[in-house]
């Protein structure tokens, strides 16, 4: 920044020099030195649009209390990629806000640094959120919100929460027969599948993504996709697909699943806290319960994801960034403000307790995620999404689960180095 200022000053000086109106060659030297001193305690935070608005007042407050300038910049698209590229070029921010499954990638690119959280600070967060931001035994970010899938149902159509998928299918079929709905379940699949949304059913069928090492981290060498358990799980998923029960359909995708639910074309929606705003707007009577599993199957475990603050490794103001992230963002006030900007359950137990009373949905979402699995943050996870989703779409479309899942497992294993 200061280099640019110096450059502009120098450019102007040179333009004057060139025109012969005065100014000597030495004129740019003191200018450069002065601007070096002027911009000292500046903290730059990158976040997405929604969070920027919530962060701004708190950033201002932090700035005023401590006599520093805090800039919150909104990066509306590809925040992670932009951050990695900018960090590598040396003009990235000091603090970045994002999902915890970025950690693996950010660490391998040397873009973020561990945060040393004091023991008492750590225990103020929900256990699963701290587990989420821990990678290779280090805490890499301070979590502020967590999210997971749950089953949102239209209570006018389906008053009872289904215990199993079979229950759900039975209710859905009845409603369909009565012409009250056109779809049984709004669970987004799309042409290319959606690993995140199918995951509870996959675990209920017995599948897993990665085994765990002795210290509880995910082990990229123990890949569950392609193993017999995963094939069994996909057989069950396939039975719900287009050639089977017709519950899971490729025509329901991220673009229309919530809209289909809010227009009462289906009684059940598998989605996260981000869907609630739309559901409320539609004026439906709804309730939230855990995503059910197969009868006699294992637990249906949704992924639990966490949003967190990270300290950029190549930030210009790391000490201040550490101060902001480790000692300031862990305050309940900030967590509540961010909750108000976007209703996702706060990761800070105290903040959750504070908003719980006014928002019963939060508790239900948290309940639904209680047995959830932390979304793996290891770099190998990047290799899962695409092939896993496509295998899902193919099986739901009627392809043979054994060959499809075996092939997907081979592709994933091939791209994990």
């Amino acid at each position: 920044m200061r280099i640019r200022t110096a450059g502009v000053v120098a450019a102007f000086a040179l333009a004057l020099a060139a025109s012969g109106c005065g100014g000597s060659d030495s004129s740019d030297e003191p200018a450069a030195q002065e601007s070096t001193k002027a911009s000292g305690g500046e903290l730059v935070i990158w976040a997405d649009d929604k969070r920027t608005a919530a962060l701004q007042p708190f950033a201002d407050k932090f700035g005023q209390e401590n006599g520093v300038t805090v800039k919150v910049e909104a990066i509306s698209k590809d925040l992670q990629t932009n951050f990695v590229t900018a960090a590598q070029q040396g003009n990235g921010p000091d603090v970045v806000v994002g999902a915890h499954d970025w950690i693996g990638n950010l660490v391998q690119n040397g873009a973020i640094e561990p945060v040393q959280l004091a023991a008492d600070k750590k225990s103020a967060f929900s256990e699963i959120s701290i587990k989420a931001v821990t990678f290779n035994g280090q805490v890499y970010g301070v979590p502020y919100a967590q999210e997971n899938l749950a089953l949102i149902r239209n209570t006018e159509l389906a008053p009872e929460a289904p215990k199993t998928i079979e229950d759900l299918v039975a209710t859905g079929k009845k409603l369909k027969a009565e012409k009250k709905v056109t779809e049984t379940l709004c669970l987004q699949v799309g042409q290319n599948g959606d690993a995140y949304h199918i995951y509870p059913l996959y675990t209920s069928g017995g599948g897993y993504l990665f085994g765990t090492t002795a210290n509880g981290d995910y082990d990229p060498k123990d890949l569950g996709v392609g193993k017999p358990e995963s094939i069994e799980a996909f057989k069950k998923i396939g039975a719900l697909g287009e050639k089977g029960e017709g519950v899971l359909k490729r025509s329901i995708a991220d673009t229309n699943s919530i809209a289909t639910f809010t227009s009462k074309k289906c009684a059940f929606l598998a989605s996260g806290p981000w869907a609630i705003t739309d559901v409320k707007k539609a004026g439906l009577k709804y309730d939230i319960s855990p995503v059910p599993g197969f009868a006699g199957g294992k637990e249906a475990q949704p992924f639990v994801g966490v949003q967190a603050f990270y300290v950029a490794a190549k930030g210009k103001n790391k000490a201040l960034a550490q101060e902001f992230v480790a000692n300031y963002t862990s305050t309940p006030e900030l967590a509540v403000a961010l909750y108000n900007a976007e209703p996702r359950p706060p990761a800070l137990t105290a903040a959750l307790d504070q908003v719980k009373g006014s928002d019963p949905d939060l508790v239900k979402f948290q309940e639904a995620g209680k047995n959830g699995q932390v979304l793996p943050a290891i770099p190998a996870m990047a290799a899962i999404w695409d092939p896993f989703g496509k295998a899902e779409a193919a099986v739901i479309g009627g392809a043979d689960p054994t060959t499809t899942v075996t092939a997907a497992g081979k592709t994933i294993a091939g791209s994990i180095k």
């Binding site: 450059g7 502009v8 120098a10 450019a11 102007f12 040179l14 333009a15 020099a17 060139a18 025109s19 060659d25 740019d28 000292g40 401590n66 006599g67 520093v68 660490v107 391998q108 690119n109 040397g110 640094e113 561990p114 040393q116 004091a118 290779n136 035994g137 280090q138 779809e183 042409q191 290319n192 359909k249 025509s251 995708a253 673009t255 289909t260 490794a313 790391k318 000490a319 201040l320 960034a321 550490q322 992230v325 000692n327 770099p379 190998a380 990047a382 695409d386 092939p387 295998a391 779409a393 193919a394 099986v395 479309g397 392809a399 092939a407 997907a408 592709t411 791209s415 994990i416 180095k417």
Partner: protein, 546 residues
Amino acid sequence: MTTSLSGPGSASQAPGREPTGSRPARKRRTARNDAPITLTGLAVKVILLGLTAGIAVWAAFPLVEGEKWAGLALLAATTAGLFYLYLTPRHIPAKYLVPGTLFLIAFQVLPVLYTASTAFTNFGDGHRGDKDDAIVAIQTASVKQVPGSAEYALSVATKGDPATGPLVFLVSDPATGTVSAGDAGGLTRLDAADVTVAPGGKVTAAEGYTILNFGQAGARSQEITDLVVPTDAGALRSSGLSRAYEGRAVRAYDQGCDCIRDSETGKTWTADEAVGSFVAADGERLAQGWKVNVGLSNFTRVITDGNISGPFFGTLIWNFAFAIGSTGGTFLLGMFIALALHSPRMRYTNLYRVLLILPYAMPSFAMLLVWRDMFNTDFGLVNNLFGLGVNWFGGEWTARFAVILVQLWLGYPYMFLVATGALQAIPRELTEATSVDGASPWQSFRAVTLPLLLVALSPLLIASFAYNFNNFNAIYLTTEGAPFPADNPTNGATDLLITYTYRLAFGGQGAEFGFAAAISLFIFTIVAVVSAVSFRRTRKQEEVYS
């Protein structure tokens, strides 16, 4: 920089050296009686050259800071060259050619060269920086709090000037309340009488020390992060500006063995320059690697990896079919409509033209998404309107048909526009003459109109072909390459080479820029060859018809 001052002067000093005769006006440039023109010209020249110099200085600062001397030399040479060129009265043609050439080099040649050089490296996620970056990242990432050690409250202080004096950590142990001052030499206990401690444990004043506020400390962020106070069990490090902890870097780089050693487990990871990673004996790699030259392996991977080379050929054929289909289809449809509207018997042509231009006026980005939803099996307009139950993007041929149809809709208005323009340039006498000679309308179209149209439109058709050959949006925003065969999630029926490349390079294990660059070069070669061949043929055609 002083050369700029002598600029106008030098022009007047050697008037005799100018090329004689043809440009007498230039000799008079500095003459008093021609002042208005000279002043404006001079001002423009001065401003532009001043800007050039300013940009050069602006660009020089980061180069100097990054110690990129080759870049700096290039910058200096270019700037000096520009100054020379526009201050000397000679080299008139060069004055016109150089700006364009410079922009061509900056925006065309350099990116292509950069892509080509990237194709020989493993540049990508996990291999972005150099080896030193990786070592720093590994060491910092391994700093752990010493088990059972205390959490200290920290104040950053100095004995001298807040902006420049040597930094000292004033830490107080919350358990015992003792206050110590720490610097690179270690910790020294401070007398409790000399310090004031706030309720949280933070030192607010200490005799002989100036305590830095956050603003002052923030300005010296780097020094604070770098300050490590050695202790018996490890070292005191800052965690922000108000807390300190006793930490230890578990992994350290050993220059002797060129390896990373873990002091807790004793495991070592040796640097492997061939892959740009630290690799342990059991094959485990540390996540943080660095960029190395990998030779031709990105290129050979395309051929040797069965997952890639297998579907590559099929994709290539479909890619040609897609590009020819969408270019040819839009051209035929556009030309047909243009011919229809060109007919003198046609009425309300302006209304039709406005209506026809509509699809072209819509942003294709949004339209592609709308079309994607229109092809939805259960909720899409296409199926609902015609009472069909076709899973458009689920079947190989229906998906291919659908994407070409969308392209046709998006592209024909453009072809209609250019064909209309070209038709108006063809004199009606020519077709009238053929009809006098007894030719049917079809014969006159084949023999006269079409060839003349093609002469005008061939370059556009070639450009359109090249564009559609790499039409990423058309596929990515509609089918994303679907449908995929059940046993191969990497290569779908509607994948173009470019979407396929994108998935290979960015879909799997994070971003692999090196590999993506290698495939880009393949695509570049294909498009370049096709275009070159087509342009040669066009030229021959022109010779025939003109």
